[in-house]
């Protein structure tokens, strides 16, 4: 079989599309998770404090804590995980502060996003990048 220049280009483009497809699927899952939580409210990048380690040696237990004064609920997303949703906290009338800590699994180096829904329906966001040495999704 003989490859013309045009064939080669077409194959190259096909390979590139195939490579980027999974990334695209991840992005869609993230957008869906964000939309389901925020609705059509505007997102402001302030008012949320997300604490995560800069480097996590073990992706199986990464300590994260989040604090958003005045929030009704807080959603944490791991944008590079096969399923982006990590946890959703909701605070009741007896919460001492709108803050909580837990431990999560991260598949690899990625951005962690915290979205806080305020009592008036507005959404606030914080993002933090975590470098993961050993991923936590198992093989």
């Amino acid at each position: 079989m003989k490859f013309t220049r045009r064939d080669t280009l077409a194959m190259g483009a096909g390979a590139a599309v195939a490579t980027f497809m999974p990334m695209q699927a991840f992005a869609d899952a993230n957008d869906e998770a964000v939309m389901a939580f925020t609705g059509d409210a505007d997102i402001m990048d302030e008012g949320v404090e997300l604490t995560a380690p800069e480097i996590a040696e073990n992706g199986n237990t990464v300590p994260i804590s989040v604090s958003a004064p005045g929030a009704v609920s807080i959603l944490i997303l791991a944008t590079g995980n096969p399923a982006p949703r990590v946890i959703e906290f909701s605070f009741g009338p007896l919460a001492g502060a709108q803050s909580a800590s837990t431990r999560c699994r991260l598949a690899g180096t990625q951005d962690i996003v915290a979205l806080a829904k305020m009592a008036d329906g507005s959404i606030k966001r914080a993002t933090s990048i975590v470098k993961v040495t050993i991923g936590g999704c198992g093989g």
């Binding site: 995980n81 009741g92 007896l94 919460a95 001492g96 800590s101 431990r103 699994r105």
Partner: protein, 109 residues
């Protein structure tokens, strides 16, 4: 019901009315994420604790919806503020339908 599920909770014995204090909870659970595969390449079905809630005298302090990305032995740390003595109840719901609970008394002095 998953084996050896044991909730542990740390709440102070006494508190000052209107002042926030810290609560820590830990429950032993394997939290199988549903992403892993066994040695034959078959996916291992998800088996996690999917919901946690903390209430005081019937009023909610906080609740959480857990996903597969929460680590083995889910741990939480959060704050509560109360006005009178009473009992904290903690509830964890498992994917398989079982419910684990723990409770702690606290006095406001």
């Amino acid at each position: 019901m998953a084996d050896n599920v044991k909730p542990r909770v740390r709440v102070p014995r006494s508190a000052v009315a209107g002042e926030a204090f810290e609560i820590k909870t830990l429950i032993s659970h394997k939290m199988e994420s549903g992403q892993r595969k066994d040695s034959d390449g078959n996916p291992i079905p998800r088996s996690i604790i999917n919901h946690f809630s903390c209430d005081f005298n019937g009023e909610n302090v906080m609740q959480a919806m857990l996903e597969g990305a929460i680590s083995t032995n889910p741990y939480f740390q959060f704050e509560a503020v109360i006005q009178e003595s009473g009992t904290f109840t903690f509830t964890w719901l498992d994917d398989d339908g079982s419910e684990y609970t723990d409770s702690k008394d606290i006095t406001v002095g």
